[in-house]
Amino acid sequence: MKDHNSASSMMREPSRSISRRTFLQGSVVAAMGAMELASRRGMAAAPSRLERKGKVIDCHAHLTHHSRATWEVEDRKLIEAADKLGIDQLCCSTLTPRRPATADGFRECNRWTAEGMRRFPGRVLGYCYVNPGYGREALDEIRLCVEERGFIGVKLYNEYTCTEPVVFPILELAIKLGVPILHHASHSHYFVEEQPRMSDGGHLAELARRYPEAMLICAHISGGGDWEWTIKALRHAPNVMLDTSGSVTDDGSVDMAVAVVGVDRVVFGCDSSMTAGIGKIRGAKLNAQDRAKILGGNMIRLLGRRKA
């Protein structure tokens, strides 16, 4: 059985019922302010308008677990926020409220993600969330989600550090299917007791060396501790993309990522911090072509390597 978001249909242009503001085309307020200011000072207006070329894809989003009574409203709000901010598609996983996830827990989450893909066709793309510790069950779930339900990739959280051997079969299957793995990651200069098996950019770089054919996405450089450390740790890991998501809006973070790993390895994400996500890309010093790559082009390239 195929869902609406099958591989063939998942990259189509989204249909929208409401007229949304196109934030990535720039801020009217800011543009007007800058032009007014510039003309007052007798200089050329600064280009505060952000040219929007191509599709905008949030590579890191989440649907709400159905144990929350408000899940339907919250999912709707996510799409409305995307509408407001000019985000065409959201790559979503649904996570269990508590980790480690059980097999039943992640299967339930993935069913809800599939439902979300049907409720918001063309807007929600699905990541299959699994706990690698469940071995065969995790692998079967990935096959089901990618091959039958049209999911676009795999989401791994913090049940295991990504360099632990239990994770390797997941990598090998993702390589076979040609889909990316979005991996939760953070690097703090202290031990994070709540997440003892947290992966960081260094672990992902090590995993990437072991599996150079894998497509890895290091989650939320702007919400994963010391982003300068993370970016530097991933410099020599060409098959790891850096996801810009997270609530931190530190000036220079996106610029440094582009400078160190190259624009082709940076992908736009929000992880629910949506104005922060859009604002950072708008604030980074990028030409229109590079901005378009980060906002969607790089993710489209990644998703285009799918084999299933």
Binding site: A30, R41, L85, D251, T275, G279
Partner: protein
């Protein structure tokens, strides 16, 4: 007109900042349409003697007072703070101050802090309190500075009803009396929007509803932060143009008598 109540100049001890000189900050402000910014010394956050940072700042903003509005950083537990406050106000023309209770290791409820607030209030100065400087998860191995708890802010605004506070870089106000409608707190504080959500939970919209647009101010946190996220928040805020204008500039202009 856009007035940013949350900007800085100088160096920060744990990360290189761009746009941290008057010239480069003004270029950034021009590119974003920001007319004026309240600035304080980033270096003074970690200097033992914060007055050295205030002196650097005063020198830097000299002749740029039309756009850069200097605020002092005062540590009420450091010797001579009363002299520093007087110099900052009378000689440097600083209209307000920023206090860092966690970075400078004191309680907002302490007698010294209350004396500072009273002295600043007597001078008509605004007191701004950054709830945080950076996200704690990226902190250096050298230190662990927590956010200022909103519970401590509540006690301060209650204890000093005549003072005027601007709360910066915080979230979660709607979860306590600071951001709730018809709370018994005095209306002596305004909230900067830099970290507030403007979609999904939309705390910014809730604060405008609960407290009124007169109690919310535009601020970016630049050059620590990209200014654009704050601009985007204001743009997506589902509010009247009159309310947005209050947030964008009018409230700050009124409070700072600009």
């Amino acid at each position: 007109m856009i007035v940013d109540v949350n900007a800085y100049l100088g160096h920060f001890a744990f990360r290189r900042l761009r746009h941290n000189t008057p010239e480069s900050l003004l270029v950034l402000m021009d590119s974003k349409g920001i007319d004026k910014a309240v600035v304080s010394s980033a270096g003074a956050i970690t200097y033992r003697n914060s007055q050295a940072g205030n002196e650097e700042l005063a020198e830097e903003v000299r002749r740029r007072g039309d756009r850069l509005i200097p605020f002092a950083v005062i540590n009420p537990f450091y010797a001579g703070w009363q002299d520093d406050l007087q110099i900052c106000h009378e000689q440097f023309g600083m209209k307000g101050l920023r206090i860092y209770p966690k970075w400078h290791n004191y309680q907002l409820s302490s007698q010294c802090c209350r004396e500072l607030v009273d002295a600043a209030t007597e001078r008509g100065m605004v007191i701004s309190i950054p709830i945080r400087v950076e996200d704690n998860r990226q902190r250096s191995w050298l230190l662990n500075i927590p956010d200022v708890p909103l519970t401590e802010i509540i006690e301060l605004v209650k204890a000093c009803p005549k003072a005027r506070f601007i709360l910066l870089n915080g979230i979660g106000y709607t979860g306590c009396s600071l951001g709730q409608k018809d709370s018994a707190l005095p209306r002596n504080y305004a909230i900067g929007l830099s970290r507030l959500t403007a979609v999904l939970a939309n705390e910014l919209g809730q604060l405008v509803t609960n407290l009124g647009a007169k109690r919310v101010m535009f601020g970016t946190g630049m050059p620590f932060n990209y200014p654009d996220p704050a601009l985007v928040k204001l743009e997506v805020l589902d509010s009247s143009e009159a309310d947005k204008e209050r947030i964008r500039s009018q409230n700050a202009m009124t409070w700072l008598r600009l």
